[in-house]
């Protein structure tokens, strides 16, 4: 192709490439909050939608567990606690059509690839806002682990469960948590009960500093806990199988 558009950012990061056939920008299609008072489930998800979540402080110094499970078709994602969410949807998805057509923007940039699929549209970026990926933690870099006496239904005292060393090993962000979003793809949750027995994978904890509703840490939480006969609970740690992706909403 002797035409088209290739835009790279600083240090050659990818921005747009009309020659790419599969790479399509995913814009913030939805952003909101889920509450147990209404629903904790996102529905109507497309196969290639990416969901990011942010756990706001339940109280000053509290913790928010970001744990969810997909249904078998990946069309719904159910969280266990109140959660803020962002859904990124690819630019070529039909769901953008009405949004784009309804946009009052009469300027901007739309780029299609050779197949005619929209790979970038500035109106999508400007719809709700942009999204910047700030950190990626390679698979298996986080050891995971359980937090005894912490389970979804009861927000145990902050700091319990993980040892300080485990917290260090699993913590991948420290700072203001208000606009820190973790990718939920890869999350699993099986047969968890009120005693926290079952299996949790790819969960996160937003652990706010004492007295704060803004600053704290985000750490990875992934484990199996079950009872073997009369030997009591046995817990196994699971590292992150997927890259952990952390990003910020831009508006």
């Amino acid at each position: 192709m002797a035409y088209g558009m290739l835009i790279e950012g600083a240090e050659g990061i990818y921005q747009v490439d009309s020659e790419a056939s599969d790479t399509i920008h995913a814009g913030v299609f939805d952003k909101g909050a889920l509450s147990s008072t209404s629903t904790l489930t996102l529905t109507g998800l497309a196969d290639n939608d990416l969901v990011f979540a942010n756990g706001s402080a339940p109280s000053a110094g509290g913790k928010r567990y970001i744990e969810a499970e997909y249904n078998s078709t990946y069309s719904t994602l159910t969280f266990m606690q109140d959660t803020n969410f962002i859904i990124l949807k690819i630019a070529s998805h039909a769901d953008w059509a009405s949004i784009v057509s309804a946009s009052s923007d009469e300027y901007g940039l739309q780029i299609k690839n050779a197949a005619g699929a929209t790979v970038f549209d500035s109106r999508m970026v400007n719809y709700l806002g942009g999204f910047e990926v700030t950190k990626g933690i390679p698979a298996y870099d986080l050891p995971g682990g359980t937090a005894p006496n912490e389970y979804d239904g009861a927000d145990a005292a902050p700091g319990t469960g993980y040892t300080s060393a485990m917290l260090t090993a699993n913590t991948f962000y420290t700072g203001n948590l208000t606009n820190q979003w973790v990718c939920m793809h890869g999350c699993e949750r099986y047969a968890m009960d009120s005693n926290d027995e079952g299996e949790l994978r790819h969960g996160f904890v937003y652990d706010y500093n004492s007295g704060s509703t803004t600053t704290g840490v985000i750490y990875f939480r992934s484990y199996s806990q079950f009872t073997i006969f009369s030997n009591g609970d046995t817990t196994l740690e699971h590292p992150n199988l997927s890259d952990v992706i952390l990003g910020e909403f831009k508006s």
Binding site: I7, E8, G9, A10, E11, I13, Q15, V16, A20, S21, D22, T23, H25, A26, G27, N48, L50, Y74, I90, L109, S122, V125, N126, G129, G130, E132, V133, T134, K135, G136, I137, P138, Y140, D141, L142, P143, T163, A165, T168, A169, N170, F172, C183, H185, G186, C187, E188, Y190, A191, E199, R201, L236, H238, P239, L241, S242, D243, I245, K250, S251
Partner: protein, 578 residues
């Protein structure tokens, strides 16, 4: 030779009348049929008295048996047949046939009517015979038979009458009569006293040597009864009456005993013997027997014996004999099992030892050292305590102890507290865990190790996690080029200095079997080394398990998924370019 003398006064027995010349019997019990017995060479001396007159009162009658020898003194040819009372008539017995038995008749003092008032006869019988013994050596408790051959001159035996006697004398000075019958079990079959008897009806007699009769050489003499007035001494076994003056020698020996004392070959048992080893007994010298005896040793089990250090003979051999003073030694193979006894029976001359020889193998040595063991290597956070998996120790059968711990390693036995104490008890079948505290370096192996007994565990490695601070994927620098979008608030919502989300691929890989690696190819923009730009998120579909371990490895144009679990997995993947 001896001189047998008698002196008698003629009986009142008128000659020519029935009952004249009555036979002079000196001993009606032992010698009732003659006057006395004599032997060739003996001198017969008969003194005849007339109770009525001393002069010319004795007349010798030479007419009874023409072939009888007459007294040679007095000399009848010169002195005639009439003598004074007290005349001594003598004769030396010869071996002539006529001397075998002869009678001398005497009478005297004319009877008023006819014949003579007094008359008497004497009869002498010359006996001879050869004494022999069936065995000149006889053991204590044994028997031997004495017999008399060529017996002649002995009148017909009847009860105690007309017997010859066998007496036994010691052959060493002083030669004294041996009371055969006084020794245990000793005696003659022909009498109940010390003398054997020979009869005309039985010329054999069996001597049983008493078991306690002294050993040595003896002499047996054959004697006749002496009814004469002289010689004196014993009428049954006096030396003058011996038909065999030199005696018949025989020897009494110790009784043959092939039965040693049972306890003399009770071989000391052997304990703590090695298993399946040929074990030799002590050498013993059986005692209490005096003749060769057959050794019988139990067969099987490589049992064997040897005599006097000679060749080993297999148990069950029946033709080996041991002699007094020879040694005996046994051999057998010990049991293949520990603490197990095997015995060997042994007999000599039919006598079994009091106890069988027993070899007991050593008790199995308690093994305080478990089999090799190891803990599963694992990962942990830095500066954190890490406890190993629990391992149940095996292969030891007695309580043991912790003998060594690597620096910084503590150990827990059967769920107990962790300790660093060397010597901590470890019971059998114990479960054991160790604990270490990792250091402060990321991605660094830290190790622990424990030694139980002499068994050292494999080095347990705990590798600390990588630095979890992640990769800041945002560009470090700034750019005055590229695409930048501001929103109405003039905030940058898309710019050249921020990575944003670009979907590349979504897909599934199903049925990845345990250990299988599958490839996902044709993924745009993926390179083996661009993990900063390409993020891959995976999710195991509809599965649950503690070992949901899928490893993603980037390649140029895709990636591989390796199922490190033990269960077939299906994976959904999402690839983003940022």
């Amino acid at each position: 030779m001896a001189t047998y003398s008698i002196s008698y006064t003629m009986a009142t027995a008128q000659t020519g009348v029935s009952g004249h010349y009555p036979l002079l019997v000196k001993n009606s019990t032992y010698c009732p049929d003659n006057t006395f017995y004599i032997k060739t060479g003996d001198i017969v001396s008969v003194t005849v008295l007339n109770s009525e007159t001393s002069t010319g009162g004795v007349r010798y009658n030479d007419t009874v048996y023409a072939d009888d020898p007459d007294p040679t003194s007095p000399d009848f040819s010169s002195e005639g047949y009439t003598h004074d009372s007290g005349q001594v008539y003598t004769y030396t017995v010869t071996s002539a046939a006529e001397d075998i038995s002869f009678e001398w008749w005497y009478y005297g003092t004319p009877h008023p009517t006819s014949g003579y008032k007094y008359s008497q006869s004497v009869r002498m019988n010359r006996v001879s015979g050869t004494l022999a013994v069936s065995s000149s050596t006889v053991e204590q408790g044994g028997t031997t038979t004495f017999s008399v051959s060529s017996l002649s001159g002995l009148l017909t035996t009847s009860g105690n009458a007309n017997n010859l006697y066998i007496s036994v004398f010691k052959d060493t000075a002083p030669s004294t009569l041996v009371s055969i019958h006084t020794y245990t079990g000793g005696g003659w079959d022909s009498s109940t006293n010390q003398l054997g008897t020979i009869k005309t009806t039985d010329t054999n007699t069996v001597l049983t040597v008493g078991s306690n009769m002294p050993t040595g050489t003896y002499k047996a003499y054959l004697t006749h009864f002496n009814a004469a007035d002289s010689p004196g001494g014993n009428d049954f076994y006096g030396s003058e009456h011996r038909l065999n003056p030199s005696g018949l020698a025989f020897t009494v020996t110790t009784a043959s005993d092939s039965e040693p004392t049972a306890s003399s070959f009770d071989f000391p048992d052997v304990s703590n013997a090695a298993t399946s080893a040929l074990i030799e007994s002590q050498t013993m010298t059986p005692s209490g027997y005096n003749t060769a005896a057959t050794v019988l040793v139990q067969s099987g089990g490589e049992r064997a014996f040897r005599i006097d250090g000679g060749t080993w003979h297999a148990g069950g051999t029946t033709n080996q004999q041991i002699s007094p003073a020879e040694t005996l030694q046994l051999r057998m193979r010990s049991s293949a099992s520990n603490d197990t006894a095997l015995s060997t029976t042994v007999s000599i001359g039919g006598v079994s030892s009091t106890t069988a020889w027993t070899v007991t193998t050593e008790e199995e040595e308690a093994d305080p050292n478990p089999n090799a063991f190891s803990f599963d290597n694992t990962t942990a956070a830095i500066s954190s305590e890490k406890i190993s998996n629990s391992v149940t120790l095996a292969g030891y059968d007695t309580a043991t102890t912790i003998t060594a711990l690597a620096s910084g390693t503590t150990v827990s036995i059967n769920g107990g507290s962790f300790t660093s104490t060397i010597g901590t008890a470890v019971p059998t079948s114990a479960s054991i865990r160790i604990k270490i505290t990792t250091g402060s370096s990321y991605s660094t192996p830290y190790t622990g190790r424990v030694t139980v007994g002499t068994t050292q565990s494999s080095l347990w490695t705990v590798t600390t996690y990588a630095d979890s601070s992640g990769i800041d994927v945002g560009p470090a620098g700034s750019a005055d080029y590229g695409l930048l979008i501001n929103n109405n608030s003039n905030n940058v919502i898309f710019g050249p200095e921020m990575r944003t989300t670009n979907f590349v691929a979504v897909g599934t890989k199903t049925g990845i079997t345990a250990g299988q690696t599958v490839s996902v190819t044709g993924i745009e923009g993926v390179k083996a080394d661009n993990s900063t730009d390409i993020l891959i998120s995976i999710h195991c579909i509809g599965s649950s398990g503690v070992d949901e371990l899928i490893a993603v490895t980037r390649t140029d144009g895709g990636f591989t998924l390796k199922n490190n679990s033990d269960t077939t997995r299906s994976v959904k993947y999402v690839v983003m370019r940022v």
